[in-house]
């Protein structure tokens, strides 16, 4: 097997076809590792050593701060559970349907390299393609319970993703921007070297160190909360405060 370079796409349609062939096949059960760093405005907010695994509609994330297992997060369908272990604090509940992109949108955003969900795959197939500087732009709309969101996905000349912008329902302002680093081959397949999520003033950056296939049986969901933990519901104002403070959830969007 050689390591032949992928030639540039011949056209926008070719770039989209390549993109869909690579990124919309459906991700098998996978696991990964990397470093997740957070920034809020100009303020650095530290780095977590991250491990994750996913299978179908389940995503499980474990974060370590130094030697400390600091974070457990599980997304199962529309149910989410987050444990901040050193704080003896947890948040649990069903994702609100009318917030952001809803559960399927959040599942996609946790793995923004997997465009296989019918919800977004269909939108990409219907999209218009235009040639832009150093690549192509796919533009269209996707639906959520809040309405119709405009989106644009920039591809490089080889058909790899560079930037995804999803607007707020109704088209006013930006809900989230996802940026993709150069693609490289991991044991589990091709994936960007890094991914950035920009939401309001919050910026998360995941530097991918490892990506591999796993079996669904390795998907260990978060262990039960200890009795002394305080577990808040997602609609508890303190949960909202934590999510807003740490992840920017509920913040006003940003313009690209």
């Amino acid at each position: 097997m050689g390591c032949a370079r992928v030639p540039p796409a011949a056209s926008g349609a070719d770039a989209r076809a390549r993109f869909l062939d690579t990124y919309a096949r459906g991700e098998p059960a996978s696991r990964g590792a990397g470093a997740l760093s957070a920034r809020r405005g100009t303020k650095r907010q530290g780095t977590l050593d991250l491990r994750w695994a996913s299978s179908a509609e389940s995503v499980v994330v474990v974060g370590f701060a130094g030697p400390v297992r600091a974070l457990d997060a599980t997304l199962l369908g529309e149910s989410v559970y987050v444990a901040l272990r050193p704080m003896d604090l947890g948040m649990a509940g069903l994702l609100p349907r009318n917030e952001g992109l809803g559960a399927r949108g959040l599942r996609f955003l946790t793995r923004p390299w997997d465009f296989s969900s019918a919800w977004i795959h269909g939108a990409l197939e219907r999209t218009s393609v235009e040639s832009v500087e150093k690549g192509y732009r796919l533009s269209g709309t996707i639906d959520s319970d809040r309405g119709t969101h405009p989106y644009s996905l920039d591809l490089d000349p080889k058909g790899d993703p560079k930037r995804l912008r999803i607007g707020r329902a109704g088209g006013e302002g930006t809900l989230i921007i996802v940026r993709y680093g150069p693609t490289r081959s991991y044991r589990g397949g091709r994936l960007p070297r890094w991914i950035e999520w920009e939401h309001g003033p919050s910026l998360l950056r995941l530097a991918v160190a490892e990506y591999a296939r796993t079996t669904p049986g390795r998907l260990r969901h978060s262990p039960a909360a200890d009795p002394e933990w305080e577990v808040m519901t997602l609609d508890d104002p303190r949960s909202r405060d934590l999510l807003r403070r740490f992840l920017g959830v509920g913040e006003t969007g940003v313009e690209p």
Partner: protein
């Protein structure tokens, strides 16, 4: 992906459990086997020493089957006074528990923040270890000889009763092994339903005089400080309000 690093101290530090269990082994005079008694006697000098320190390597399992990760650092233990763990990794944390200064500090160089709490906010097990090392180590150890593979090498060691560490039986499996030459603790393994942590201790050092300066955090002066327990932060801010 979700999450970030604003996760300061609390009651569930696995490394703290590991350090605590290693210290527990230091006085394992309740061990039923002669060898365990001999080891306990040999290393009791750690407790008699005004200050003990060691290099540590903390290895944790990947919960999803990937390769384990390692972090290196150093630990200082001043019986009666305090405990410190400082990571030697780039951007690694520095944790200090100082009874005399009523302080529980976690310095995060990556965040450029010093999290500060009172001594009473430190893990209860570690506070007991600092305040009452004898009582902490001589109760409920229930050691049982057990050989285990450590990085491909079989090692003799002892499985300890979880109750010795303040844990419920069956919740955490603790195993300790000593260095064959010095008889000092070498490996401590903690396995739970969450993950497995292996701590390796090397280059034990014993000082004739306690040096409280070793309990001073490496945080630069004037660095931003925040409360160690974010619940205090939430309570202060009030529900739903930003600070």
């Amino acid at each position: 992906m979700t999450g970030r690093n604003r996760v300061p101290g609390g009651r569930r530090f696995r490394w703290a459990l590991a350090l605590g269990s290693a210290a527990a082994l230091l006085g394992a005079d309740a061990a039923p086997r002669d060898e365990a008694v001999a080891v306990a006697a040999m290393i009791r000098r750690v407790l008699a020493s005004p200050q003990a320190s060691a290099r540590v390597t903390i290895e944790r399992s990947d919960p999803f089957g990937g390769p384990p990760t390692r972090e290196r650092g150093r630990m200082w233990f001043l019986p009666g006074r305090g405990l410190r763990y400082r990571s030697s990794e780039k951007g690694g944390q520095d944790v200090v528990i100082d009874r005399a200064k009523d302080a529980f500090l976690l310095y995060s160089p990556q965040e450029e923040v010093l999290y500060r709490g009172a001594y009473g906010r430190a893990p209860a097990r570690l506070r007991r270890l600092i305040e009452e090392p004898e009582q902490e180590i001589t109760s409920k150890l229930s050691p049982a000889a057990e050989r285990r593979d450590v990085r491909g090498t079989p090692r003799e060691g002892y499985r300890l009763g979880a109750a010795a560490l303040g844990e419920k039986e069956g919740k955490v499996s603790v195993w300790v092994s000593r260095e064959s030459g010095s008889g000092l603790p070498r490996f401590v393994s903690l396995a739970s339903d969450v993950d497995t942590v292996l701590v390796e201790f090397r280059e034990w050092r014993f000082d004739k005089k306690a040096r409280p300066a070793d309990l001073v955090s490496s945080a630069p002066k004037g660095i931003r400080e925040e409360p160690l327990d974010p619940r205090e932060f939430l309570e202060r801010a009030g529900p739903g309000r930003s600070r």
